[in-house]
């Protein structure tokens, strides 16, 4: 039985109370988080208060499924009265006056917020090392990074600090850390979960996703956060979570050659192809296909996301939001520059600079407009692919987790590793990372299942079928 199902049934059977459950998680965090640095802020008092309220709801009966279940939130999801920094020094003292919709839906269903997890600053990064506060380590091997940018959320789930956590996925930031930490990471269709209260990085790509212990846990959590929200004009919610399939017979699984290029490590390729064979043995048919536009997807993603970031991060000028410098200034421009330069980290500055460059008059057509065209090609390639198959199987990341103290690399070589996850973000498609074994060093490998818009239920079902056999 999954961890979430176990807690749900135990809380209803009175085996233990929500307060007892909450205390056990808080004490685990207190005792062990110094090893991993998964959390930026733990809200002991608020969590215990929420747990007592959940116990009341459970006593009254008819409590929602997640009532009394502890969870963690990535630190770029706003929480009323609790610091929300997006791991940036510029938001060091920011305490939001409101809850993000996803956070408030979970709180209203009686779930218990334990705290806020570490991340790359403003979700820009893939190893949780660009946080202004601490470096998170992978619970599977503390010499390794947990991936990123939702590395704190993934580490919290993998270390057993929370049965589930929410993260944000702009170009793979939920799926890649899930893969590195050996948990399940679901990036729902763009618009399925409201972005209201999510600190914006790239608004046309950002989505709130789930990190959990298993696919069946994702099936329980997803309906609680997928609601149409009038506060986010892009939100649609999901109307039905029903899955019509009873098994995988006749399911067509696409294997795109572009996802298995030479840049994918042999260990990862082997594990993912072995998973494909498992799914095939359960009745699925493997279909070869091609997604040619993937060749340019990573570059297009970085151009579009940086352009949007340069706009979204303009608000951290020390007047509207963010750090205010004590340095002297003569002009308003100098004042802004002092505030922004002291408050923002190196990676955030790089992205702002790239975004400013691609939006500047001489580069707009060559970079930005071209990247938007590539985005259309990617969407079209996926649309054509889903005429031939029901879902697409690929590695979640080209390699397993990297060393925390590895050699410094150029930004471009780091960016190009997002190859497996950015195309789904450009197309707004749902994708789930499911653990599918380990490499020769014992580090987790993740396989990624991508489906058409709003096919989350099918993706979770395929993951559940795999988990059942892989057990």
């Amino acid at each position: 039985m999954s961890i979430l199902k176990k807690h749900i049934s135990a809380l209803r059977d009175g085996e233990y109370s929500a307060e007892e459950l909450c205390r056990s998680y808080l004490s685990k965090i207190e005792g062990e988080d110094s090893l991993y640095n998964a959390f930026l802020h733990v809200d002991c008092e608020g969590a215990l208060k929420a747990a007592r309220r959940a116990d009341e709801m459970l006593k009254d009966g008819d409590a929602p499924l997640l009532c009394g279940i502890p969870f963690a939130l990535k630190d770029n999801i706003c929480t009323k009265g609790i610091p929300t920094t997006a791991a940036s020094a510029t938001l060091k003292d920011f305490i939001p006056p409101y809850d993000a919709t996803a956070a408030s839906l979970l709180k209203n269903s009686g779930a218990v917020l334990l705290g806020k997890t570490n991340m790359d600053e403003f979700a820009m990064g893939a190893d949780t090392k660009s946080s202004a506060y601490k470096i998170t380590k992978n619970p599977k091997n503390t010499d390794m990074t947990p991936g990123g940018s939702s590395g704190g959320s993934a580490a919290a789930v993998a270390a057993g600090f929370a049965p589930f956590a929410l993260g944000s996925d702009t170009g793979g930031s939920v799926r890649q850390p899930a893969s590195f930490c050996g948990c399940v990471g679901l990036a729902p269709t763009y618009g399925a979960v409201s972005r209201y209260g999510l600190i914006a990085f790239a608004s046309s790509l950002d989505r709130i996703g789930i990190l959990a212990d298993s696919c069946s846990d994702c099936r329980i959590i997803l309906p609680a956060i997928c609601k149409k929200d009038p506060k986010d004009s892009t939100s649609k919610g999901i109307d039905s979570f029903e899955n019509e399939r009873k098994d995988l017979k006749g399911l067509r699984i696409g294997i795109a050659e572009e996802f298995f290029s030479d840049s994918i490590s042999e260990d990862v390729k082997t594990r993912v192809m072995a998973a494909a064979e498992v799914l095939s043995s359960l009745g699925a048919t493997l279909v070869n296909l091609s997604l040619p536009s993937l060749e340019y997807a990573t570059e297009a993603y970085y151009i579009i996301s940086s352009a949007e970031a340069s706009s979204n991060l303009a608000r951290y000028d020390g007047v509207r939001f963010g750090h205010r410098s004590d340095s002297p200034f003569c002009t308003i421009d100098e004042f802004y520059k002092n505030n922004r330069s002291e408050g923002l980290g190196k990676e955030a500055k790089r992205r702002i600079m790239l975004g400013t460059f691609v939006l500047s008059a001489g580069s707009y057509d060559d970079y930005y407009k071209k990247a938007l065209s590539v985005r259309e090609l990617v969407r079209e390639d996926y649309r054509k692919a889903f005429e031939k198959c029901d879902i697409i199987l690929s590695p979640t990341a080209p390699e397993t987790a990297s060393l925390v103290n590895g050699k410094p690399r150029t930004p471009a070589s780091v960016y190009s590793e997002d190859f497996s996850t950015v195309s789904q973000s450009l197309a707004g498609l749902p994708a789930i990372s499911v653990p599918c074994g380990t490499d020769r060093n014992g580090l987790p490998v993740g396989m990624q299942l991508t489906g058409p818009a709003f096919s989350e239920s099918l993706l979770i079902f395929v993951g559940e079928c795999y988990e059942e056999v892989a057990k």
Binding site: S233, T234, Y302, R375
Partner: protein
């Protein structure tokens, strides 16, 4: 018709602010536009990084992409990308009086509210 040379906030670009792709990127001018300042040491490091990132991003120019990414030429990217089919728009209250007929000032109804 809205000029395509506007960024995603709809701001016009500074005239004469052009970057020749083949020449070295003027990191200092970019930093000015982005309201950032760097020490000399930081600036040279950022110059290296920007050269590296821009040469990576340049690959996108090789794509044979003919699809039109915008519903209408010059339309604000955020607007065309984020509106779903059910969204309705209306003219923002903050639109200049002389320009209320300009679609550019149409915003999603919920935002207008």
């Amino acid at each position: 018709m809205i000029s395509p040379a506007k960024d995603i906030l709809g701001r016009g670009f500074i005239k004469n602010q052009r970057y020749n792709m083949k020449s070295k990127i003027n990191t200092k001018e970019l930093a000015d536009l982005a309201k950032l300042s760097f020490s000399e040491k930081e600036l040279s490091e950022f110059e290296r990084d920007m050269e590296n990132i821009v040469s990576f991003a340049k690959k996108v120019m090789d794509a044979k992409a003919e699809a039109s990414p915008l519903r209408k030429d010059g339309e604000n990217v955020l607007r065309c990308d984020i509106l779903n089919e059910e969204s309705t728009v209306e003219i923002s209250d903050v639109a200049p009086k002389g320009a209320v007929q300009d679609e550019y000032f149409a915003v999603p109804r919920v935002v207008a509210e």
